[in-house]
């Protein structure tokens, strides 16, 4: 570290008092501890543990010994985590290059609807005869691929992924080629595709999804036998999924994201763009291409998340992801990804998602009203955004010290 020494002449008397108040990281062990904690990669993990322990002490009823500790609950919370993780991975990528993707929620809605339209096996005419695609794509006998059920699931899933990546391409293209602010572009795609999903279905959920598809949302690969049912009204199953399809899919995606970010040329170029786009371009980074690919990845992740949610809910839902944007960006930011670009990690987002899911679980278990829950959620995200600013200030002070 370079240390620039102030001028050697003694400061005038009026200033000598001020000099003592200078923040000195090394001279103040107590401050240094908080600084290190705040800048640590594992900050959220500590926070999660702290939250869990303090909740267990304050509300014994919902602590580890109570609701939160129930195997069913733990298993459910993991299932809640995976779809949020999948979509937050994409957002993390976008935030790292200094952008933002507000359209992920509506990508989830439109891909959920399109997937269901391709795969559905039976539809109620009374519900869908107002849909603009009734009689062509949607019929009483099911969706587009009603004639070839063996192809329905793979092609349905493929369609969802392609639509997700395609909307991401539109976002990236508009941002790089027309130089429109990412905030604006994705706000527009968010509004448009959300409305499009509602229009296609006339606000109805599409049911009748094939069993093979539903398995992607809940199906177990490895399960744990817990003996006979204990409380029939809560634990409906005596076998709990330990490793389910969503686990494998979301963690697989996380692994891919980790490799892309840490071990490829692409990842380094992302960080370079997010840190200093002009310098990156002068150094030969194909900035436009990288930005477009990142938004495509974001849309792709939203589509994966949509697959997990739709399969778990068993329907194609035009309102899917409606209020999810705050959760997604919140989880990424809590995980240490900077809204200023150039900083973020998959590990952090994984912890951030876990923190978020646990927080919601506790608020729910405490039987708080939905309004209070939303207010607390908003407060936590605000705090996370403030932490982001505080971290940025800490690092820039280091730079000038």
């Amino acid at each position: 570290m370079s240390v620039t020494t102030p001028s050697s002449s003694p400061p005038p008397p009026a200033l000598s008092g001020l000099a003592l108040a200078q923040p000195g990281a090394a001279g103040r062990p107590r401050l240094a501890f908080w600084r290190r904690l705040l800048l640590s990669d594992y900050f959220v993990l500590y926070l999660t543990v702290f939250l869990f322990v303090s909740a267990a002490i304050i509300f014994p009823r919902i602590g580890l010994a109570g609701t939160l500790g129930l195997p069913t609950n733990i298993s459910n919370q993991f299932l809640n985590m995976w779809p949020l993780l999948a979509v937050a991975l994409g957002q993390t990528f976008v935030l790292i290059i200094g952008g933002i993707d507000l359209s992920q929620g509506s990508v989830m809605a439109i891909t959920s609807v399109i997937g269901a339209m391709v795969m559905s096996t039976t539809l109620d005419p009374a519900m869908f005869d107002k849909s603009p695609v009734w009689g062509s794509i949607l019929t009483a006998e099911g969706g587009l691929l009603r004639a070839s059920p063996e192809l329905a699931v793979p092609l349905g899933v493929l369609a969802m992924l392609l639509v997700g990546a395609g909307i991401g391409f539109l976002n990236g293209f508009a941002i790089t080629k027309f130089r429109i602010a990412p905030f604006m572009v994705t706000l527009v795609t968010m509004t448009f595709f959300s409305a499009f999903a509602l229009w296609l279905t006339q606000s109805r959920n599409i049911s009748g999804l094939p069993e093979e598809f539903l398995r992607l949302g809940t199906g177990d690969i490895i399960s744990v036998y817990l003996g006979p049912k204990l409380e029939a009204q809560i634990a409906r199953r005596d076998i709990l999924p330990a490793i389910a399809y969503p686990t494998v899919i979301a963690l697989g995606l996380a692994l891919l994201a980790q490799v892309l970010l840490k071990n490829t040329v692409f990842g380094r170029q992302m960080f370079a763009i997010g840190t200093n786009r002009r310098a990156a371009q002068i150094s030969g980074v194909p900035a436009d291409r990288v930005v477009i690919l990142v938004y495509m990845f974001s849309g792709f992740c939203a589509a994966v998340s949509s697959i997990l949610y739709s399969a778990r809910l068993g329907i194609g839902q035009p309102s899917l992801g409606n209020n999810l944007m705050l959760d997604i960006i919140g989880a990424a930011v809590i995980g240490g990804t900077s809204l200023f670009g150039g900083k973020g990690s998959i590990k952090g987002t994984l912890f951030g998602v876990a923190f978020f899911v646990l927080l919601l679980n506790m608020l729910n278990a405490a039987r708080l009203s939905p309004f209070i829950i939303d207010a607390v959620k908003g407060g936590v995200i605000l705090l996370a955004a403030f932490l982001d600013v505080a971290r940025a200030r800490l690092t820039s002070r280091e730079q000038h010290a």
């Binding site: 490829t264 380094r268 960080f271 310098a279 150094s283 980074v285 150039g342 730079q399």
Partner: protein
Amino acid sequence: MSAILDIQSITKTFFGVPAVKEVSLRVAAGQIVGLIGQNGAGKSTLMNLIGGVVQADSGAMLFQGRPYAPRNPAEAYRAGIAFIHQELNLFTNLSIAENIFIDAFPARRLGPLRLVDRADVSRQTKALLAQVGLDLSPSLTIDRISPGERQLVEIARALHMDASLIILDEPTTSLTARETEKLFAIMRQLQAQGKALIYISHILNDVLALADSIAILRDGRLVTQEPASAFDVSRMIALMVGRSIDSLYPPRTAAPAATPLLEVQGLSAKGIVENIQFTLRQGEVLGLFGLMGSGRTELARMLFGMDSFEQGSIVIKGQRLTRHSPRESIRRHIAFVTENRREEGLLMNINIADNIALVALPEFARTTLQVLDQGRMMSAARSAAGVLQLKSGDITQQPARSLSGGNQQKVVIARWLLAEPSIFIMDEPTRGIDVGAKYEIYSIIDALAAQGSAILFISSELEELTGMCDRILVMSRGEIYGEFARSNFHAENILRAAFREEGVKPA
């Protein structure tokens, strides 16, 4: 005559490097003081001290007989010092009247509201404009009037705040000859009214014609302040240049070869550069000297494919470039060390190793997913850092921002070394770094040239160009206005060419 501004032995140091050192200067009421010096001589810092932009480390100022130490520009402004910059400080989207009254509109009270008294503003503005000889509507927006008129609006604003000292920093760079004449007439009129003026300019004849007294800065020190009658242009130049110190530069180890690496043919872009023509040879260090605004940086950006041009062509190793982009230039083994490390060079928050690897990243990739061979990448980054004697901690951990200016510059150079370039464009490579680090950068430049690279060394410090280059091109107003071989390096002549003084033959 009593001094309205009396600067007493003022010193300002940036990061241990003195920018202004023990300068004393007196400006009397009704006097125009001309302030001249080379780029980096400390003119801007001195003006920033007076204008409250930066604060002095030691020394004192008296303004109108009272101690004066402005903590910010607003205080200087309130004290009665108006600052008219090279780049104007007008809001182009607002009207002339709004610009003049921006800090305090005359207002009428209407209950809790304070309404701008438009009629009063308009009347006052008209009167002020008349004083500077402008006959324009006060409601005209700034973007509709010419640069010369804008300059006069700035002066009108200074009159409105009743400034007793007006500082003009290169006010004529964007003015036509007629507008310049008009500005000078107004300045003489202000002088007759008892205002004090400080006039900074590179156009020495103007300074000589206008100023009562001329102050010359060199290396942050005041060389002399004497009545204008004591000077002629050549004495001014001689005092600005001073003598050179030889031990500041390493000896050149090899002579350039004859093989041309870069040929620039008739490069033109309207209003920026005109008919630029030169050849850069293998092993050559070619200096490009020019004053601020001469088009040297713009030319460098065009050569590297960042900015477009209208006519002419660039030939690399005998092949004419058909596509122009940084990526294409990198593919052709051109490197570009930009003039501002912070904005266009480094990734400040990212570790040194990743900074060094940035340009050559694709070369460390395997497979279609472009997975990096991190081991090979790190050892390449380490060896480049070693060759350049980078002083740092663990390069995989330490962020670039924590390095000193000289070491930051080495990181930028190391980044390009990994791409094995044969042509280096270096724009102000030693700006803002201390003397010792400068020597190291010069040694690197010499070593690169000795290994057969060609270097286009752009600088506004003439001394370092004469110390390091085989040949120097002088740019002035977008053209190459002079060419000097090493045997013919004469600082005064080169400076004359840059100033377009008479008696210098264009190349």
